[in-house]
């Protein structure tokens, strides 16, 4: 997202002008500014990387213990695959100079520092070196893939997962990214998505929706009657909440880091509104679940926080703190309603990825068209202020076009992808594998090995030569021969 560099230049200009009135001053950022921008961008990238851990724990906590190893593998591997595929082709498609639909230069990011601004001209606005840009964008690609994992959890074949992770991070996500951040057609329209409610979360969620439609619900999730929805409880709330805390922590990097620049200090405000929206959503989501279930539900509250963070992602640079509270507040309620609705539609999304990343990402992206403040829009330099300030729906319509286009492209491309996988290597595990759990069938070992392995009781391992054990139990070093 293009941050106006003018601010820095002007401040520096004035400062120096006052001091050395005879000196003409160039607008080039100082070495120090570049260094600070790079430190900031890298730290933000690390935080976003760490979100992988958050996603894996959120997903694992909301699913059953028999699949936990598989879920860990998926969340690790999709990042591994994203790292390679996005480096090899994704970054070139997303930011490489190309046409309005996709980039076509800079494969393997194999460019010298001096060429970088030409090959990736859509990122030339940022001061940081190309390697920092690459790492920061790469960790975002990882997030998009991970979102799909959650929605299709507990029934997807592992090698199918590897394949679609590569396609999403290498092609589908970069194409959308090009449209909005890489100088493509939506960017030309003035579409506002600061840190990726649509670019990242929308892409993940709409791909997930296609996947859920093709793969079908988990065994036993829905009864024959319309409203017969059965709970399949996950296995650990501490995991869920640790996941939320890690994601929230990482989201500061996700949103505030998307400035890739610190000079206008806007990143502080972005971090603050991110926090306020997450907090507001958590509160309203909790209340909504309280009203529905007559108890404050732990998983719905946790999910609402994520929903609020997703919703504020697009507007974070464009809205004031009070608006963040409003956006977050709505997101919490929307999330809880969407979870219930999805179940009614028999779309089985064990972790609520589509409600949080899809529906609330969509809501957040549209909300920019309503609540973006003129002051902030001007400083970011993209699009126009929202309806609330201008009384005009111009920007809102652009937002609408953008989310619709992204939905259509991602949903169709993903449908094709999943249908193809299904028809070739297969997408869903067999009934027996699903019942016994993916861990033992896909990975040959349980995710909680000691606990699940048949004959190894928890406190005492089995295969020691036993009789006389108590008598021999004297304190001494056991030599290697005896230790058999």
């Amino acid at each position: 997202m293009k941050i106006r560099k003018y601010f820095v230049a002007i401040v520096m200009f004035c400062t120096f002008l006052g001091l050395f009135p005879n000196v003409a001053f160039s607008a080039e950022p100082s070495v120090e500014i570049i260094a600070i921008d790079t430190v900031w961008t890298m730290i933000a990238a690390f935080l976003v990387f760490f979100m992988q851990a958050g996603f894996s724990f959120l997903e694992a906590g909301l699913t059953r213990a028999k699949n936990v190893g598989n879920i860990m593998m998926k969340n690790a591997l999709d990042f591994g695959i994203a790292s390679i595929s996005y480096w090899a082709i994704g970054f070139a498609i997303m930011f490489g100079t190309g046409n309005a639909l996709f980039g076509m230069s800079g494969w393997f990011v194999n460019v010298s520092a001096s060429q970088a601004d030409k090959v990736f001209s859509s990122l030339a606005w940022s001061n940081v070196p190309i390697m920092a840009k690459l790492l920061f964008q790469l960790v975002f690609a990882g997030v998009a893939a991970t979102i799909v994992s959650g929605a299709m959890a507990e029934r997807t074949k592992f090698h199918a997962y590897l394949i679609y992770s590569a396609v999403i991070t290498g092609v589908i996500y970069p194409v959308v990214g090009h449209w909005i951040w890489g100088g493509g057609w939506l960017s030309a329209l003035g579409f506002q998505d600061f840190a990726g409610s649509t670019v990242v979360h929308g892409v993940g969620a709409w791909a997930a929706l296609a996947g859920v439609l093709i793969i079908g619900p988990r065994l036993g999730k829905y009864g024959k009657a319309r409203g017969d929805v059965r709970a399949i409880p996950g296995h650990s709330m501490p995991m869920v909440m640790l996941g939320v805390f890690i994601l929230w922590f990482g989201w500061f990097g996700f949103n505030a880091g998307s400035t890739m620049s610190v000079s206008d200090l806007s990143f502080a405000k972005i971090a603050l509104v991110t926090n306020l929206a997450g907090a507001a959503a958590m509160l309203t989501g909790m209340i909504a679940s309280w009203l529905r279930s007559r108890k404050p539900d732990v998983t719905l509250t946790a999910g609402s926080a994520i929903a609020g963070l997703v919703a504020i992602t697009a507007p974070s640079a464009f809205v004031e703190p009070w608006a963040a509270v409003v956006i977050g507040g709505f997101a919490g309620v929307i999330y809880v309603s969407a979870v219930v609705l999805l179940d009614y539609l028999r779309l089985d999304d064990p972790v609520g990825a589509i409600p949080a990343h899809g529906i609330c990402g969509l809501f957040g992206t549209l909300s920019v068209g309503l609540l973006a403040s003129p002051r902030l829009v001007e400083s970011v330099g993209v699009g126009k202020a929202g309806f609330f300030y201008t009384g005009s729906f111009d920007q809102f319509m652009i937002q609408l076009v953008g989310v619709a286009a992204v939905f259509a492209f991602v949903f169709i491309a993903s449908l094709v992808l999943f249908v193809t996988i299904n028809a070739t290597v297969g997408l869903r595990v067999s009934r027996e594998e699903e019942i016994h759990g993916l861990d033992i069938h896909e990975h040959g070992m349980w995710g909680y090995p000691e606990q699940f392995v048949g004959e190894l009781p928890q406190q005492i391992a089995a295969h020691y030569p036993p009789p006389g054990i108590a008598k021999q139990a004297t304190k001494r070093i056991i030599s290697k021969e005896e230790a058999v």
Binding site: M445, G454, E455
Partner: protein
């Protein structure tokens, strides 16, 4: 009074429970157990090494019933727990001398 102890698969618990409830069995108690029998173990792998698994997770269902109910209970279990594959389990019947209901102190048939 007879004690019926059935070793069954996890996935058949719900239909078996249902059938027994319909028969009027007043209560039952289940335990997570591990079984070894004709059903062979399998091999799991961990860090490249293999583990031979002998025992399989099963459910032990215990219900004490009146003598009259015995046959229908055995039949209900057999029907609902059968998948036809090795490992379906066994039913053991023993006789019970006395039963007490703790809450009321009743004993005998009334207490079951």
């Amino acid at each position: 009074m007879k004690q019926v102890r059935a070793i069954i698969r996890h996935e058949v618990l719900e239909p078996v429970r249902n059938a027994l409830e319909k028969l009027g069995v007043p209560g039952m108690t289940i335990t997570e157990v591990k079984g070894f029998g004709h059903q062979r173990g399998h091999t799991e792998t961990y860090r490249g090494a293999q583990i031979q698994i002998h025992f399989r997770p099963k459910i032990e269902l215990l219900t004490i019933v009146d003598d009259d109910l015995l046959n229908s209970v055995v039949e209900a279990i057999t029907t609902n727990a059968r998948t036809g594959a090795v490992g379906d389990g066994k039913i053991f019947v023993t006789s019970v001398e006395e039963v007490y209901r703790i809450r009321t102190g009743e004993s005998g048939n009334k207490a079951i």
